[in-house]
């Protein structure tokens, strides 16, 4: 099966000598919801910039649905929609005009562009704002406007560079639902985000990039299986004076109603609750201390740093 996106040995060195990509390779399969994660300055935006032609690669190959961008970039672009990290529309244009105009840039007849504009502005809750200048929109609305604009030509591959940055929780959840819906309808989605909960909830596969190298490229499920331990916060109904005996589990008292417990791979939560039950401690709620993917992400980056140090 032809990959939706295939990247081979992609390298980028900027004019000032900064090497942003050291020769990364990865594939994204059609229909996938793929997370491209990495700390600031890791090379995510450079990669996206190269895919959508805003950055020129130094070496390597990029294909979108089998079309090499060096051979037929216009055809490749026709299948690609991009939602950049920063707002990049004219602040003085009206919402409706911005989206219809983008359709025109993709060669869409005006009538079709207008129909699609109505469809996506309605789906993204912006139809009432169609006559408003873009600068008058809230941050969340501006992000949704960029999504509508990127979808106007109904691309097979949609790349979103931190689409929910600065967006409130309610709106973020509604954007997730929308993205999951268009993914179910067949659009391949690549997402970069700093909210690892977002990547864990939405994405099936993942690549982690750090200092211009891919340090992990696997499915989210496989990655989470490698987690050796998880740290939970348990809230007790009764007041606790000291950390109870947890029978082999490492734990500490956070405050008089909360315990932090580390559960190693192979240990069972049933044993933990049994130990607590024996001492008459009733747990009313429980949560991960940090997002599981976040813990892995941090440890992978730490390993990468350590490897670099050893070299």
């Amino acid at each position: 099966m032809t990959a939706a996106l295939s990247i081979r040995n992609l390298q980028k060195t900027y004019d000032n000598g900064f090497r942003a990509l050291n020769g990364i390779s990865f594939d994204v399969q059609p229909g996938d919801f793929f997370a491209l994660l990495g700390p600031n300055g890791a090379g995510k935006s450079t990669t996206i910039g190269i895919i959508c032609s805003l950055v020129r690669k130094t070496a390597g190959q990029v294909s979108i649905f089998g079309i090499d961008i060096d051979e037929n970039f216009p055809a490749a672009k026709q299948m690609l929609g991009v939602v950049p990290q920063e707002f990049n529309f004219s602040q003085f244009e009206k919402v409706y005009d911005i989206v219809v105009t983008q359709g025109g840039f993709y060669g869409m007849p005006r009538k079709l562009a207008e129909e699609r504009t109505e469809k996506y502005l309605k789906q993204l809750g912006l139809w009432d704002k169609r006559g408003t200048q873009a600068r008058m929109l809230s941050g969340g609305m501006k992000r949704r406007l960029m999504i509508a604009r990127a979808l106007i030509h109904e691309p097979k591959l949609l790349i979103l560079d931190e689409p929910t940055a600065g967006v409130d929780i309610e709106l973020r959840r509604s954007m997730w639902t929308f993205l999951q819906e268009i993914n179910r309808e067949g659009t391949t989605i690549i997402l970069t985000t700093h909210y690892l909960e977002e990547a864990e909830s939405l994405c099936r596969n993942i690549a982690i990039i750090d200092k211009g190298d891919i340090v992990e490229n696997t499915s989210i499920k496989s990655l989470l299986k490698t987690l050796n331990k998880e740290v939970f916060i348990l809230d007790s109904r009764d007041t606790l004076d000291e950390c109870p005996d947890l029978k082999g589990f490492e734990g500490r008292l956070l405050d008089d109603h909360s315990l932090e417990v580390t559960v190693e791979k192979g240990q069972s939560l049933t044993e933990l609750f049994a130990a607590l039950g024996e001492q008459g401690i009733s747990i009313v709620s429980m949560r991960n201390r940090a997002n599981r993917l976040e813990e892995l992400f941090v440890s992978l980056l730490a390993e990468n740093k350590q490897l670099e140090g050893e070299e």
Partner: protein, 257 residues
Amino acid sequence: MNSNAVWTSFSTIIRREVRRFMRIWPQTLVPPVITMSLYFVIFGSLIGSRIGEMGGYSYMEFVVPGLIMMAVITNSYANVVSSFYSAKFQRNVEELLVSPTPNWVILAGYVLGSVTRGLIVGLVVTLIALSFTSLSVQHIGITIAIVLLTAVLFSLAGFINAIFANSFDDISIIPTFVLTPLTYLGGVFYSIELLSPFWQGLSKLNPILYMVNAFRYGVLGVSDINVVWAFAGVLSFIVLLFAWGLHLMTHGKRLRH
């Protein structure tokens, strides 16, 4: 992109450009009209009546073609330099760069959008001029051709200026320090026959002199220069600037890293 898609994209760019300068008409259309009206009143009517004839015509008749051309030149240049630099500054130029629109279509679209503003302003200035004097165009073909080509030439120049510009200051340097002096010294207000041979020779190095005189030849039938040279020069510069603009879009590092 097939030819229909290319045409759609091209017309979309022009539509957006026209929408932009019509939206801010108090900044784009009104000031040149007021400025030119003042020129007509002061130089054409008040001072002009004391100057007498120039090139066989009243001073008002002589100065009108030059002032129309001046409006066309400055507005063609100003529109694209401001619009394209703003698109760079606000990064909405990326809307076009990520699309399959070919670079030559982007360049041609911006240029034609700018030519439209230059011609609209030129037309309004002409209508105002008609309230001061009568104009009987001698060579309609030459008049239309030279005004159109001049607008294209200065739109291309403005586009290149916008690509190189890194700040809003950079888009006013060329109009202020190059375009305005060349226009004022380009035979808008006087015939170079009034100058000494040395200054006449120097004036002939000014490309705007040729465009103004070719336009004046079209309208009045008189010119300080050979009109053929004007067309040859303008066409050559158009080819050169188009090629340069396209090169900057395709290979330059100012739009794509």
